[in-house]
């Protein structure tokens, strides 16, 4: 069970990452521009007379989020590698769990910001009624994002040692996106279509189960990566 010291360390790691990111904001801006472009392309990539926006909107939203997350995750450990900081981190007495949670938290904030900024753009471009279901939609976004950021943080730590890390991360991570993204899309279109909450429970439990299992698994496995 993470104690208060673990939480403190996690915050410190996350804060450091986010401070560094905020200084240049390159990755953040790149992700946002990317998100806008993907939304635009997916809007036009259909037969507008045959496919109503509501049909294509949920998929477009989550493809956008997935790709933007991939961009964000990749930078997670790049900094450390470039400055050989990974060795420094390994020497600290901090527990692997704290380090992982910190990295994951930093990634969550990053991806979360991209998602929250993309959301109003999404509403604008796709003209969907979001206000009513907004709380539930935000919950869905949080749950799905936690799922793939957990696995993504772990994988990016491994992939950073390889030569083509920008390509390797998507190759390894994409299979893990299927359960959370499919669930999120199913939930999103039901929310946008104002379906009753009872219809959401199945997919919400899928998201919850995925999150619990993969966050725990990622925390445990991260320890294996650090100890060499």
């Amino acid at each position: 069970m993470p104690g208060s010291r673990t939480v403190a360390i996690a915050w410190a790691v996350a804060a450091k990452d986010l401070a560094i990111e905020w200084r240049t904001k390159t990755a953040l801006l790149a992700s946002l521009v990317f998100a806008v472009l993907v939304l635009a392309i997916l809007f036009f990539a259909r037969d507008a007379t045959a496919v109503p926006t509501l049909d294509v909107a949920p998929g477009a939203l989550w493809v956008t989020f997935s790709f933007a997350a991939m961009l964000g995750l990749n930078r997670a450990f790049l900094l450390e590698r470039e400055n050989h900081a990974l060795d420094g981190i390994r020497l600290t007495p901090a527990s692997p769990t704290a380090l992982f949670l910190g990295k994951m938290l930093g990634n969550l904030v990053f991806v979360g910001v991209v998602e929250l900024v993309s959301l109003p753009l999404f509403v604008l471009f796709y003209d969907v009624a979001i206000w009513q279901g907004l709380p539930v939609l935000l919950l869905v976004m949080a749950l799905a994002t936690v799922g793939f950021v957990a696995v993504g943080t772990l994988l990016s730590a491994m992939v950073v040692r390889t030569r083509f890390s920008e390509v390797m991360l998507p190759v390894l991570l994409l299979p893990f996106l299927l359960p959370p993204v499919v669930s999120a899309v199913q939930l999103t279109w039901r929310i946008l279509a104002a379906r009753p909450l009872a219809e959401l429970s199945g997919w919400l439990s899928m998201l919850a189960a995925f999150d619990v299992i993969f966050v725990v698994l990622s925390v445990l496995l991260f320890e294996a990566i650090l100890i060499e």
Partner: protein
């Protein structure tokens, strides 16, 4: 006996086993094509089942073993577990290729479509993709210790992921059923066909074991060569 001598013995035995299994495969071919009756409604294409299903079984077996050995490696850190896990992944890719090619070839005449995103097919496709990712990761890591640990981590993640994929697609399907022209259920096979299927399953399993032994031996010899200790002691 040194590690290398043991590995070479495993290679010999594995090669013999593979040869026997290949002969068995030829026998299964003869039996399936010439001595098993043609199914009345599905026609000769139904016989693809006798190679497709065992290949799928072998691929699934290979995947499970890679996953389980990955867990064991992380707990026990025995490098032999890593070599077997990697071997299982490579052999699994071979069987996956058979599975993923014979599957659509069977599907087209029987179901009327090359591919359908149902739970089983999607899971098998993803098993192939995960295998490939596993092997690509291994290829990109030079340090043996790091390679073994990192692939084991991926192996464990993949093992846990596949059931999630299966359930997700299954739920998706039950909510959005696609009309399938003629879907054979799980028919109870008459005796003659059942024997053909079971013999094929046995042969593919033997083939898997033979391949693993050969690939394992290859892995051990390669690693010994990398470390520069060709005449290494046990």
């Amino acid at each position: 006996m040194t590690r290398l001598e043991r590995a070479r013995r495993t290679a010999r035995r594995g090669t013999i086993l593979t040869a026997v299994a290949l002969a068995g495969l030829a026998a299964v071919y003869v039996r399936a094509l010439a001595f098993t009756p043609i199914e009345r409604f599905q026609g000769p294409a139904q016989k693809i089942f006798y190679v497709h299903a065992p290949a799928a079984w072998a691929a699934l077996l290979a995947f499970t073993i890679t996953g389980v050995l990955s867990v064991l490696y992380l707990l026990l850190r025995d490098r032999r577990l890593d070599v077997v896990a990697a071997s299982s992944a490579e052999v699994g890719v071979a069987f996956s290729v058979v599975m993923l090619t014979t599957g659509p070839i069977w599907g087209k005449p029987i179901w009327g479509t090359w591919w359908t995103w149902d739970a089983r097919l999607t899971s098998t496709l993803f098993i192939f993709l995960l295998f490939t990712g596993y092997l690509v990761l291994r290829g990109a890591l030079g340090d043996r210790e790091v390679r073994a640990t990192y692939s084991a981590v991926l192996g464990v993640l993949a093992l846990v992921l596949v059931p999630f994929i299966h359930v997700t697609v299954y739920w998706f399907r039950t909510l959005h059923p696609e009309p399938i022209v003629a879907k054979p259920g799980a028919p109870s096979l008459p005796g003659v066909m059942l024997v053909t299927l079971l013999s094929s399953l046995a042969v593919f399993t033997l083939l898997y074991v033979g391949f693993i032994m050969q690939r394992y031996a290859l892995g051990v010899v390669r690693e010994a060569r990398e470390e520069g200790d060709l005449d290494a002691g046990a």
